[in-house]
């Protein structure tokens, strides 16, 4: 078991290394000068050179990547160029491990940016996950129990059509009607718990939470339904029924449990992805989370931020994968062999 976990972690680390290198190469070796990007439009040539040195873009790609990787492990200092650091000690910015980079545009480390934006994303994710898991499983069980009836068709049809709507449209509809026209919810604007208390915080997360959950719901409904149906036709359920166990008890004690494993898998991976910023939802509602940070960074050509975010999100998914795999290995020992 331990050996399996170690093997999975090593593969995960390898993947991170490979991903960071590819992302680095992709973004830094593109046809446009990254220093020019960082420096902005109308940047005088000598300033571009300075930026290039400050961010270490004058070094060969491998060296840059090495510095970056080292920064992730032990932290680093900016400007990247040592001579520049010595010349202007007051300008040195400390970037503690795991250092994901430094954004010239925002004059702050990517870590700080992420630390600022992450609570928003986590809040939205929390609410969204709660909504989609509770309602997804509930509707899924409902559909399975009433298989073939109008309820089944209604639930599956409704979630599937909700899924067919583009997220930005769902969000825009909610803002425009539920918030602005009907005034049921306040106009969207993120409020921290410290600012407005739990109630206000939650209230402001309902609409984006629902928007984000809407897309995921269909998958959970269908999966729950399929697995509950499958297990209901298994022998042990039939045995349980024939032993005279009540329908409800059979359903929750046996059938639903069978569906739990795949649900947990899917859940683990989805949560990792959602934590990484619901780009569309955050953009539509204008909540400054990781997704919005990504969109803004992209609009201002803030490459270090984009690279840092891609790596963070990738790492989240890799970690989730490892956790899910290990969980699986615990539940089903056969996995380890495969």
């Amino acid at each position: 078991m331990v050996a399996y976990i170690i093997r999975r972690v090593i593969v995960g680390l390898l993947m991170l290394v490979a991903m960071s290198f590819i992302v680095f190469a992709l973004f830094m070796k593109n046809p446009v000068d990254p220093a020019q990007f960082s420096c902005g439009k109308n940047c005088p040539p000598e300033r571009i050179e300075e930026t290039r040195q400050a961010l270490g873009y004058d070094q060969p790609l491998l060296v840059q990547w090495g510095a970056f990787a080292k920064g992730v492990v032990v932290g680093r200092e900016y400007p990247a160029d040592e001579a520049m650091r010595e010349a202007n000690p007051e300008l040195v910015t400390e970037c503690a491990a795991p250092c994901l980079g430094y954004s010239q545009q925002l004059q702050m480390t990517v870590n700080d940016e992420i630390a600022e934006a992450a609570p928003v994303s986590i809040s939205i994710a929390l609410v969204a996950v709660t909504i989609w898991v509770v309602f997804g499983v509930l509707f899924g069980v409902l559909a399975a129990v009433f298989k073939g009836t109008l309820v089944d068709r209604g639930v599956v049809g409704a979630t599937l059509s909700l899924y067919a709507f583009p997220t930005f449209f769902v969000g825009a509809l909610l803002i425009n009607f539920v918030a602005i026209k009907w005034g049921i919810f306040p106009a969207p604007g993120y409020v921290t718990i410290a600012e407005g208390g739990v109630g206000e915080w939650l209230l402001q997360l309902m609409l984006p939470g629902f928007t984000l959950a809407a897309v995921y719901m269909a998958g959970y409904v269908r999966m729950t339904r399929a697995f509950v149906l499958e297990s209901m036709s298994e022998d042990y359920i039939r045995t349980a029924k024939s032993k005279g166990l009540k329908g409800g008890k059979v359903l929750f004690k046996h059938a639903l449990r069978a569906a739990l494993t795949p649900l947990v898998t899917m859940f683990g991976l989805d949560v990792a992805a959602v934590l990484g910023g619901a780009i569309i939802t955050e953009d539509v509602f204008n909540y400054y989370g990781l997704g919005k940070l990504a969109v803004t960074a992209n609009e201002t050509y803030d490459l270090p931020t984009i690279v840092g975010l891609v790596l963070l999100l990738g790492a989240l998914v890799i970690i989730a994968n490892i956790v899910v795999d290990v969980l699986y290995a615990f539940i089903d020992p056969r996995v380890r062999v495969a």
Binding site: M19, N30, V32, L160, F165, G277, I279, I280, N298
Partner: protein, 332 residues
């Protein structure tokens, strides 16, 4: 699952079909599936809808002539009022055959013509991207599954790697770079934006299928007919494409039918984020322009949205039906 998730991961591994080949003697699995599909009313209705959209896309110019509308032919001076609102057509002036879907504010362009041609772009982009990612997925899956050792390891690693990259974020970040390559030649920009979009959708669409095919091949390669071909000295590429491929039709068809709607939805999502085609009408671009008119002139936005929703919904149902048809164990 978000749209992009489905796109990245392909169909859920959990609900993926595991075609039981040769369960019913005498009829090919393809034949059985077709029979099942043909008797499925919902699937047939959806197929009809999809076919309708395909016909609209192919015959967009003809349809425009038929309805007497013209693409991008509006005259702002005569067609719009002092607030730049159209002076004829729904929703403000009632239905008229002159402009069945109304006109576009500001420019006075006909929205029906825009919609017809938009369907064309959407389907074109989604189809090409799905075909490309399917081909890539099949080829890499075959190679990975058949070659033991390093080949397999490298491709599996690639699959996992691409599954790990956050799709939307990478897409919005690399599309300007792809377009940048044509920066020196702006007249090529229209094509550049189209190609960049297709490339992005393709490179994030192949992994699910590749993984699936790999699994299938691993289980198939130990079978007698493959062993026999191997012993007979058949060249590897022949074994892959003549012997193995025909046995993989089911997962390929299922995967294709489920990624197509995901790709269409992804295209609209990317357009919202500013990664879209320029220079030709597309639903995504119409949506982008229509957003500020949403409140006062909603038909502008609703038309392309309805197009996307209906098409994606029908394709999804159809894809489900195809999957069920191939998989006797599925539940409906």
């Amino acid at each position: 699952m978000t749209v992009s998730e489905v796109l990245i991961q392909g169909p859920d591994p959990e609900i993926d079909p595991e075609p039981r080949t040769g369960e019913v003697a005498g009829r090919s699995p393809m034949r059985i599936a077709m029979d099942r599909l043909l008797s499925d009313k919902v699937a047939m209705i959806c197929a009809g809808i999809v076919l309708l959209f395909v016909l609209i896309a192919i015959f967009a110019p003809l349809l425009c002539k038929l309805f007497g509308v013209e693409l991008r032919a509006g005259d702002p001076v005569t067609d719009t009022d002092s607030f730049n609102y159209p002076v004829i057509g729904p929703p403000n002036y009632g239905f008229t055959w002159e402009a069945p879907l109304g006109l576009e504010p500001n420019s006075g362009n006909d929205l029906l013509a825009e919609w017809f041609y938009g369907a064309r772009t959407s389907l074109l982009v989604a189809t090409i991207a799905t075909v490309v990612s399917t081909v890539v997925g099949v080829v890499l899956g075959l190679i990975a599954g058949y070659s033991r050792g390093w080949g397999d390891r490298v491709i599996t690693f690639m699959i996992d790697l691409f599954l790990t990259l956050p799709f939307l974020l990478v897409a919005i970040a690399i599309s300007p770079m792809l377009v940048e390559r044509w920066r020196e030649n702006p007249t090529m920009l229209d094509n550049a934006s189209l190609i960049a979009l297709i490339v992005i959708l393709s490179i994030f669409g192949w992994m699910g299928l590749a993984r699936l095919i790999r699994g299938e091949v691993i289980s198939l390669r130990e079978r007698e007919f493959i062993e026999a071909a191997h012993v007979l000295g058949m060249p590897t590429h022949r074994i892959l494409f003549k012997e193995l491929l025909p046995n993989l039709v089911a997962p390929i068809v299922v995967s294709f039918s489920l990624s197509l709607p995901a790709t269409i939805a992804a295209e609209a999502t990317l357009a919202y984020l500013g990664v879209g085609v320029t220079g030709r009408p597309s639903w995504g671009q119409t949506i982008l322009r229509a957003q500020s008119w949403f409140d006062e002139y909603p038909l502008y936005l609703y038309a392309p949205i309805v197009g996307i929703v209906v098409l994606v919904f029908a394709l999804n149902l159809l894809g489900d039906a195809i999957r069920d048809a191939f998989d006797p164990k599925s539940f409906r």
